[in-house]
Structures are given as structure tokens and as C-alpha cells.
Symmetry: C2
């Protein structure tokens, strides 16, 4: 088993323990959340940034667990905000336990993750501060997304600002956190740590762009959430923005679809026009990542490269299948 | 102007600035929250614990502002959880801006307050840790309250556990935080700081018990929130518990009132039977406070005594008026 894979097992165990020790009112919600765990990409990024050739410090296990629990908290609140019935293939906490419990459960998980960060605040104050100070940016991303619902004129750079808040900020906190741990233990210098923080931001942007594509390319079962629903939900994603930039009349068609609530044709059209240029943008961010990878220790860079490829191989396969259908 | 009153003005200004600097999506919600500010009792407690004869350190202003903003966050989420239409005499954030914005606004304020705590984490790590680690207890209090809705068999000690989470924990964090700042600057010793933390807990219990009484003694206008509604909302408060302990048949009457949703008579009966023994319990906690006040510097003790008396004078006047009606 590789170093990272082994560490991820430890993170899973640590999350299970932390949620398992939660009080009896939280336990059923926590169990439900554990059943619907994601791939842990944020933890993997943190652990990779914190790794050297031989080992991953216990503090990195704790930091990665804190990031994943914080992410769970945001998912629980997102489901309240979006009234989502399904999350990762299971009923959302709100739909299973009600709005009241979902709001409190999210708050509890925020508290739990912050408390784990507090345990390692010393000597990694830079990480603790970054974590805490970025919570507002995450909320801001959500708010910007809300206020741009159905905004077909959303400029590309505003789109980037939204996905930065809703996804890339936490990826940035993850890689930066791992890098700060590495720096403290002498494995990275100041500049490398900063660059690895930027790497996380780029990685998050790619992750969200690929996730946008999944709304068009995957079925509900594979995606473990409803797909082909972004446009219907007023979410202006990148394939839609790119498709509209290719065909000026598409905006009116989307508006017509919104009026009749018939989205089948428009989803097909956006897929055909928008997916390829969207993937091009994702590849451009991957190129930015690879510039940074040349500056950091070889083994760490190799692990990041692998993580990047995994995300792409899945998404591009789906995209190709779909575009050529 | 006294030292504390002057510091409270600074806290108000600091909160206004922090909310004023919030992004344009938060600004209208923040403005609305500023319009419905409470008496700032948590800030006053922190400042009192942080005061010496001559001055209050800037760090205490920041800590007090963080506590008040955190409190605002809990109020915003409480309104979502309880579906309250009114808060402090104005429409709640949820009823004015919708559930989605209320959830995010609460999260944003959590982030803002924690970020202010991070600014003074050094050298007051004990305060920072206490703040962060107690978030879960606050959520737990909310959850216990939810799961004990309509539970007329709620034991007194479970009631205490609930109000500890929903009110006393944050009072505890406030006085403890102030005391840690005082201790660092040589104005309190270790034992005094701990005792002042306990003082906060007792103060919070008293505050919540008096607040319970207000549901019976105040009209909606004076209380700036709906009153005579706890029983109807399934909230088992202390006057109800005490009234039921005085008259064993009262529980059945309450159940009958819940079935017919006619609460007028039962509210009167609970007032007559329950308010006096409830106030007795509040006085007992005040006595516990006064034991601690003997251990701490005289001027600080005098300020705490005044804060205590202010709470009581208001509540007991209302209670007497009501019991003798």
C-alpha cells in the first residue's frame, strides 16, 4: 500500500472515531453521513502536500480529517440551501432528518472540525488562520451563486469567483495546510509552500469544472446525484457559458426552455457545443498545476500528478463518450 | 462614562465596522441585524472580566465583538430552526431574506467571529481553544431542546443541561475569555480566572431562567418577541416544570391544552404556580455567583454585581406585577 493510501485509511478511521464519539442526537446523522462518504480528494491533497519520502506526520492525519469533516458540514448546509433530496446516492440529511436537524448538524460538524484544527493550531498557526479566515470566502461563493441563479449573462470571471468560493478555497486550505506541516518539518521552503497553496486553488477549479461537466455526461446512478438538472435549477455552469459564447442565439433558447420547463433539447445542445471548450479550460488549469509541480520535491509532484490524472481520466472518458454519442 | 460603558461603545463600533466591511450580499442582512441588536450582555460580561481599575485592553474589545457576532450567528440559525417570524421586534433574517440566505448568513457570521478570535489566538490560546471547543456544546443544547419538545416529563437536571448548551456555555466562554486576558496582564491568578469562568455559567443559567419567565410576564411589545408561546411551541421551560411539580394534575391539563390548542388558562395557571419557585432557583444561582464575587478583585466584583442586579430588577418587577395581578 502506498504512503498516501495508508494515510487515507487512518483519516477514515479518525473521522469515524470523531463522528462515533458524537452525542446520541448526532449519532444517527453522523452514521448516515459516513455511509455516503465521497472520495476524500481534499484529504488526499492535504496528505500529499504533507508527505515526504518516508512518512506522513500524525498532525497531517488530524488536519486532513478536520478538512473532510468541515467539507461534510458544508454539504449538509448546502442541502438545506438547495433543498436537495439526494446527496452521494443517499437521501440528504435535510430530507431524512428534517431542516432543523440539518442546520444544527452542520453547525456541530463545523464545531468539530474547528476543534480538531485547534488541537494542532500550535505549531501550524499559518494553517489554523488560513482555515478560519477562509470560511467567509466559502459562504461568499454560495451567496454569489444564489444571487446569480438564472443569470445567463454571468461573465466567465464571475463564474470563476463563484467556484473559487464554493470549491477551490477549501482545496487551497487543504494543500496549504499540508504544505505548512511539511515546511515546519523542513521538507519544503517558504516559496514551495505558497506555490502548493496555489496548486490547491487550481486543482479546486479543475475539480469544479469537471463536476460541471458531469451534470451533462453522467446519469443519476453513476453521479450519485440528480444530473441534467443544473440549468433547470438555475445554475449557470461552465459548459452552458461556453456553449452560449459559441452560439449567440443559444441564450434565447435557454430562456425559452426555462419558460416551458422542457430542458431535454437544450441539455443536448449545450453538451455538443459546450463540453469540449470547457474541458480545454480545465486542461489549461492543469498546465498551470504542472508548472508548479516542477518546483516541488519529485515524489510529492508525482503523487499530485497522479491525483490530477485520476480526476481527468474519469471526466474526459465520460465527456468523450457523450460528445461522440 | 464608566469604563465598561465606554468599552461597550467601542465594541458596538467594532461590530458595526466588521459587519459593514461584509460583502454586498451580506450587507443588507448585516444592516438588518444591526438594527435589532440586543443589550450586549455577553460583551459586558467579557469586558468586566477583562477590566482592571484603569483600562480595558484592545484585545478584550475584539474578543467581546467576536462573542457578540457569534451570538448573532446562533440567533440567525435559531430562527431557521424554530421558523421564528420575529427576532428582537423585527422580522427574523429567515422571514425577511429566506431560508437559504439565513443559513449562509449564519455560517458567514460564524466565520467572521472565529476569524476575530484567530486574530488574538496568541497569546490567549486558552480562550481560543475554549471558544472553538464549546461550539459543539451549543449545538448539543439545541439538539436536546429539539428532542425534548413537548416532553412534559423533562427532569430538572435535563432542563439545566439544555439551557447550559443554549445559553450558559457562551456566557461561560465570555467571562472565561475576559478572565484569560486579565490573567495574561497580571490582574487575575489562575484560580480566579477559573472561578470567573464558572461565574459566567451561573450567570447564563440565571439569564435563561429569567428569560423563561418573560414568556409569561411580558407582552410581545416589551419582550420584542412573541410571548405566552413556549408551551404552544412545545418548549418545556422552568416555570412549567416548577408548576407541574407543585400540582401533579397540571400535566394532564397541559396535555389537554396541547390537544385543543387553547393555551390561555394554562398559561395563567403556570404563571401563578410556577413563577415564584422559578425565581427562587434563579436567586439560588445568584447566591452561587456572590460566593465567587468574594474571591475576585473588588471593582470587578462590583461591576458583576451590578450586571446581576440589572437582570433581576427587570425580571422580578415583571414577575411580581404578574403574580399579584
Amino acid at each position: 500500500m502506498t504512503l498516501i493510501a495508508d494515510a487515507i485509511k487512518q483519516v477514515d478511521k479518525s473521522i469515524e472515531q470523531a463522528l462515533g464519539r458524537s452525542p446520541k442526537q448526532i449519532a444517527p446523522l453522523a452514521g448516515h453521513l459516513l455511509d455516503s462518504r465521497g472520495q476524500g480528494v481534499r484529504a488526499k491533497l492535504l496528505l500529499t502536500a504533507a508527505s515526504n519520502n518516508e512518512q506522513i506526520h500524525d498532525h497531517a492525519i488530524k488536519a486532513a480529517s478536520a478538512i473532510e469533516i468541515f467539507h461534510l458540514a458544508t454539504l449538509v448546509h448546502d442541502d438545506v440551501i438547495d433543498d436537495s433530496p439526494i446527496r452521494r446516492g443517499l437521501p440528504s440529511v435535510q430530507s431524512k432528518f428534517g431542516k432543523k436537524h440539518a442546520v444544527i448538524c452542520g453547525d456541530y460538524l463545523f464545531g468539530l472540525s474547528l476543534s480538531m484544527v485547534a488541537d494542532i493550531y500550535q505549531p501550524y498557526t499559518e494553517f489554523g488562520e488560513k482555515f478560519v479566515k477562509n470560511i467567509r470566502l466559502i459562504c461568499l461563493g454560495e451567496l454569489q451563486q444564489l444571487s446569480n441563479a438564472n443569470n445567463l449573462d454571468l461573465p466567465f470571471f464571475d463564474y470563476l469567483r463563484i467556484i473559487n468560493g464554493k470549491t477551490a478555497v477549501l482545496f487551497h486550505v487543504a494543500t496549504f495546510g499540508g504544505a505548512i506541516i511539511s515546511k515546519y518539518h523542513g521538507n519544503l521552503n517558504e516559496r514551495q509552500a505558497k506555490q502548493i497553496g496555489r496548486l490547491g486553488t487550481y486543482f479546486g477549479i479543475i475539480f469544479q469544472i469537471l463536476d460541471d461537466c458531469k451534470d451533462y455526461t453522467l446519469d443519476t446512478k453513476t453521479a450519485k446525484k440528480p444530473t441534467n438538472t443544473d440549468i433547470a435549477n438555475g445554475v449557470v455552469n461552465l459548459p452552458l457559458i461556453m456553449a452560449m459564447s459559441k452560439d449567440m442565439r443559444l441564450g434565447d433558447k435557454v430562456r425559452a426552455a426555462m419558460a416551458t420547463r422542457e430542458y431535454g433539447d437544450i441539455v443536448k445542445e449545450v453538451s455538443l457545443l459546450g463540453l469540449t471548450p470547457t474541458m480545454d479550460i480545465a486542461y489549461r488549469y492543469a498546465a498551470k498545476c504542472r508548472v508548479i509541480l516542477q518546483e516541488i520535491p519529485h515524489l510529492m509532484a508525482k503523487e499530485f500528478e497522479q491525483l490530477l490524472n485520476t480526476q481527468f481520466s474519469l471526466a474526459s472518458k465520460n465527456t468523450e463518450q457523450h460528445v461522440t454519442k
